[in-house]
Symmetry: D2
Subunit: 466 residues, 4 copies
């Protein structure tokens, strides 16, 4: 038995469990082994409550067992499992041996259940509750940080970048609105998939063999037990719940992680020395940037999030493989299911990290302006070509392409070459004032960046109730 | 240029394209390169229709361009691309050079669009239409086959199997109902994700720079163009549509593939020589089972489906990686996007194959009965222990476990040992007739297998309208 | 800070760390965080030893620092890291603050190193040593178990199975020899890849900037430091070692895991109720097979191994993604590298589990014989067709195929139909005695199963020195 | 049957098959279906040659069959397969029906073989030959391009980059040497794994049942047949060759692809507008950079390579899953094996593309210098701290860190602050001239960049014989 956290192999437990944050102790209260066993005991307790309601056992019996369930100690269950080699039977034995459980009560424990009625239901329940109590709130906090930056910077003109090349203008707030929208969308997806997690009380192969011994309405009985826990039953189950509920849920988590990773990558690159439009704030006055290069300001949090995505995204493959279970179930998804909580941890740890960084994200407006200036002169290629075409030029794209090449060669502004061109004069004369203004000042070539930013933020604030 | 199909490297094209099936020529009309270019031309045509409606160009101009779009030849576009190295500009040039396009019309082609307005919209459209016209119908056909078998075999008593071990009874129809339910659920997921695919007409970096030169309501303009095609716009776009629409769509496909693979695995194992409860029918009288073992009846179609799942499931990883695109887009998702149609093909080919096999699936009821008989005697362990517990036995599970061990050792039926046991007599006396009957005839220990099968089938028939 | 192992999320630490086995405490002494920090301190110690050898610092200084390195406490390093936010600088500070380190000595700690000189070297070293001291010995133990079964069962006639269908005969020992061969091959691959792991002392971007300040032969200096640890330097390094050494190493582990998973699957299926040729022995007299089905004997260990493979195989994707690091390094492989030790754990835990099961694997010869009898009569199809062809029959395959169909229809032995056939008589007359014997007794159609088994076992015993 | 290449779904065939390159027609001659069938026929031909050598059939017979094998038409085989539903039996029938094959000869075709003797051997052979004739030569060409750039730029001072931040100096040639080394290493890995591919002639379940009917030395017989083809036999085989040979081979390909992807990413980022140290040359005077932004120079080839890596890297997961095949084989690796040649194509297409770009890679030395100048002043932080420490300063790292912060705040060169510091004077006085020179001119802080570049290039030129 490992006794010191630093004797562990999992960095989640000894390293990414943030030591000073309540969030993590809350999260671990759903994902730890202690939590899992407690949730299993909650299922056993729900069962006896319904048995009592239905008159199968007395209220006294139910009360005794419920009490025992609430006192279950994971270490006792493990000790018993070491002896008999069966985890749920070990749990049952521990409940049985609680001094408050009378002889009369013992036989009602676990009555009609199969192990995976307990385990699958407990898993669904803890994932569902971790989702609503930790994952969604953490993501909402991050979303708020995104929205705050987006609105604050909605008019900060920035050069757009495609292929890593300067493209045409937008605003930094508009660029942030991408993440407001994508994260908002994923929050809804996770919320939905989390709420969609279901339990089962349908017995060893799913056709309610055992519960049918007692009840004519075993599906109704199943529903009652699960409702005690706030869950719905699966449409169909074998020994286990149909895997697609979990598959959709983990997909929602993993695809949300992809959004975080993309954001982290964008920020990493905007923090490059040559670009330096954003920066992570150093946390403490004693922080060391690099062991031998003290001048460096490294995007360590963004790097960490990208790295964690690389750790957790591939785990979806395990989940997809676990869709396949022979007949009424092989057990080859048993050990692998035990690693699913780690995926929740990876996402929360990363979202929380991003939130902290975003709350103090340094946006260097001078650098944004400086970079914009680099390409300002060439930006007008696009509006020029489009406007010329609209005014009747038969081959505007090719014409502007050639002038651009000339502009690069001669080092002269594209705008000047356009104005001087005899060929283009008749078309230029037809431009409206607003159109002319954009050719004169490309920083006005912004489309509806600011307005769209506001719209996106307002939409998600309303939609998510934040 | 490759000229003969057998000079190709992709088995999808030379091998899995079923030669005598209309379904495949229909499917390829969405996924081929020819199809892709046609869809791109449809987007260009939709654009000019809206330009005409808004009075930017004349109806005559729109009509000329639409005509040219409908005549686009993929080989011409490729030839032009070879020359100028840009696929969408090549398309535009081909439309321009159509003899029916007047000089006046030329300049309105592609006006305000960026390449990925065309490409992302065309991709969404062809995936959406392939979904509704090929994928969903093929899966519904398969679902019908599943339902037919499930209802036909709803009372065929079969031994349940967990861990590959005989467990407790169910019916073969109930086992099939698992796939009715899971496939039904995935059909809904695919339908929803397919309908959710969106387009974009928002320009090079997503803030409508170009269309804003002409319109005060560029988002409305985008909506009009997309509505011409039956699409909605993305909530937000950069140069490309937010990736999560596609990510969810491919997830729906891949997770559906997992259901097919699981079914295929179940059938493969039920077709094992020792089990032989089901068999694929041999297709033709000349079919060769094995080049050197002519007596073998191999589950080649089920094996093929499992194999194809192994090919296509990992491709989800590509899709997840493509969620990450720097700033307003890097182009590292360009080549990879071209492989997405293959995933649609993989799923349709496999679903179609399963449907064909299921329509003629041989179910050997004698074998099912023979296998059931093997374990009939030991089945009562579960109901016995549960009933004894319910009648007051304080430790029924342990008691029955010991009798089972004794039964195996002595080779005597468990039922006899139970009846002979002095310890158990008082509890047995309390059993109801129905409960007693199950101990006497374990094949009655079926729960609600038959009823649940009917329910599941009725539910999905109604839900899917089949 | 997590204080109780059951408050952890990683099942590796609280569950798969086998509580009563020395092997696991040994393994964790390489993979735990405590171990990692100790290895880092070993690198710092190696540095000062070489500095002293080269006269840069005194032997006294080196001795003081080495002493401090050997006393490093991981919890102190973490506390310091919490303060200054840099793990290696924290380590250096802890060494500095050791009371035995004199003022004079302090400045030599870490001299010329960059953080990843320490971290990459420490990682390589602990993986290399874990490989030789734990992974290889565990796999060799498993290999010995495989060999033992193979040799013991080399003449146990078993029906071969392809497509899950009975094929032609082999022996169970020959089937086991597959795993002797494949595991042997992977042991060599792991041993080689483990020995191939390298370190680096080449500074922040790999061109020995810092060490060149002191030495004219910085590559020789690097070699000396690494030789202190038993490592070779990378051919080339940036801030980090070329990733392919680790990529090859993890590939070796993961591909070995695939062999274990295949073996586990084979055994799972041979343990199916209908086949029941092998079985896991129940571990203790109190073991519970199923919470509600006490008669079941489940292949839980084989299932566990398959499940663990599903957990760990996909992690190769992380490793492949970590091959990509921008320029002289981005840090997006930093967190992910911390999860690599878990892969070693997964493999060892699974190999150890298999070894334990194999040592007591129950092989039911009667069942093997029973299953063989099922198909005995049809086996001769293959040798018959081949022999007839060799004796001059122009179309033997087709002829036997038809007789096989007839045999199935009429329920008569294929052998009788062959003998009765007028068409075949002239060819049968030409058979040698040995050939005739095989048609009479298909269980002699064994090729060189027994001899090949011996060969394979002898080869690997010699090759691996076991 | 698809008749036009643009009706295909696979972009490999209609798009990435470079139309004007001999390389691609050569590559496809190994990977196409036509090629596969030809290789299968080569195995059948090798068989009869050995049968004749051993006197089983006459030389005349062997010659007739060999002739027929050389004339096999893939379309004929497919037509026959459509009829009898078995691909290898279809091949055999086609050989049989060749007019030059006499009645006497017919019965020796395929004698003793099982289908996968032919298929696995043919696969191994075509992968092996594609490797030596296409893959390795293409990679060697790329390696030469890398070496050429590395040597040319070995003294081009460039700022090193870690975390995307300017770090300390190196040379561009040294940065290129990373890829010389990593690619060189992968070329060796691929060559080795390619040469390691093996065949098998061991029959339906691997114990030489059929060949033992004729030969006392069936393993020798196998060796002879395979030697005809230039292959070695597998150590052990079931119906198929042990999968690890192929697993190692595809791993070598995929891990090589990772090196190309990393190189492509580095170049993409160096081509960013703000950095612009390198650029892809535009291919033709008519090339269009962007449909609406004609001024852009996009790294489309580097993007393509990264994108292709995202397509092909995940396919390793399929290969790992195919390690698992039940008993003497299930056939769930049959379809998936057909997709393996695509991986070869992906790698060759990408390596060839990179080679073309590298041959004309534009290196902008002014931009490299300009970027270096940005950080020149702060570079000395690292050498300063190290030198001060070595000269006796007790806490140099912390001291320089503080001066760096001061330098950033006050906008003054770090070097001036160091020189002015009273605290540091005694240590500075001890510096050697060479050490002093580096503090004065950080561009001399290059370590052995140039020399190491030469070494690495020389090593790989010699090692690879280029």
């Amino acid at each position: 038995m490992i006794e010191d956290i630093f004797d562990c192999v999992s960095p989640l437990d000894f390293r990414y469990y943030g030591r000073n944050e309540k969030l993590f102790s809350l999260l671990w209260s759903f994902v730890s082994e202690r939590a899992y066993v407690k949730y299993q005991a909650r299922v056993e307790a729900a069962l006896v409550r319904v048995l009592a309601k239905r008159g199968v056992c007395s209220k006294q019996v139910a009360s005794e067992i419920e009490g025992a369930c609430s006192r279950i100690e994971v270490s006792d269950v493990y000790r018993e499992e070491d002896r008999i080699r069966h985890n749920i039977r070990a749990l049952v034995n521990c409940i049985r041996s609680d001094p408050a459980v009378s002889e009369e009560a013992k036989r009602f424990i676990h009555l009609t259940l199969t192990s995976f009625d307990v385990l699958d239901t407990a898993s669904a329940l803890r994932f569902k509750e971790a989702t609503s109590q930790v994952i969604i709130p953490t993501l909402l906090d991050l979303e708020k940080s995104f929205i705050k930056i987006a609105l604050r910077e909605k008019d900060t003109i920035q050069i757009g970048r495609t292929h890593g090349q300067h493209s045409i203008p937008l605003t930094f707030g508009f660029a942030m609105a991408e993440y407001v929208s994508r994260l908002g969308n994923r929050i809804l997806a996770i919320r939905k998939a989390g709420n969609n997690l279901v339990g089962k009380i349908s017995g060893a192969v799913g056709n309610y063999n055992a519960s049918s011994l007692f009840f004519d309405d075993p599906e109704e009985f199943e529903r009652e037990v699960l409702h005690e826990l706030g869950l719905e039953p699966a449409d169909y189950s074998t020994q286990i719940v149909e895997p697609e509920y979990l598959v959709d849920y983990v997909h929602a988590l993993v695809s949300c992680f992809g959004v975080l990773a993309n954001f982290a990558d964008d920020m990493r690159h905007l923090q490059r020395t040559e670009i330096s439009e954003v920066a992570e704030e150093f946390k403490v006055k004693d922080q060391v940037g690099s062991s031998t290069m003290p001048h460096k300001r490294n995007p360590i949090n963004f790097e960490n999030v990208k790295s964690m995505w690389k750790v957790f995204m591939p785990r979806m493959t395990t989940i997809y493989m676990d869709q396949i279970s022979e007949h009424q179930r092989d057990l080859t998804n048993s050990a692998s299911l035990r690693f699913v909580p780690e995926i929740l941890v990876g996402l929360v740890v990363s979202a929380f990290r991003l939130k902290k960084v975003c709350q103090k994200l340094i946006v260097d407006k001078k650098a944004i302006e400086r970079n914009f200036e680099m390409s300002k002169k060439r930006i007008i290629a696009e509006p020029a070509y489009i406007l010329l075409a609209s005014k009747g030029h038969p081959n505007a794209h090719e014409c502007i392409r050639k002038l651009t090449v000339q502009s690069l060669k001669e080092g002269r502004p594209l705008r000047d070459l356009i104005i001087e061109s005899e060929e283009l004069k008749p078309y230029l004369a037809k431009l409206t004032n607003k159109q002319q203004a954009i050719l004169d000042d490309p920083s006005q070539y912004l489309g509806i960046a600011s307005k769209k930013t506001e719209q996106v933020c307002a939409y998600w604030k309303q939609k998510l109730g934040i």
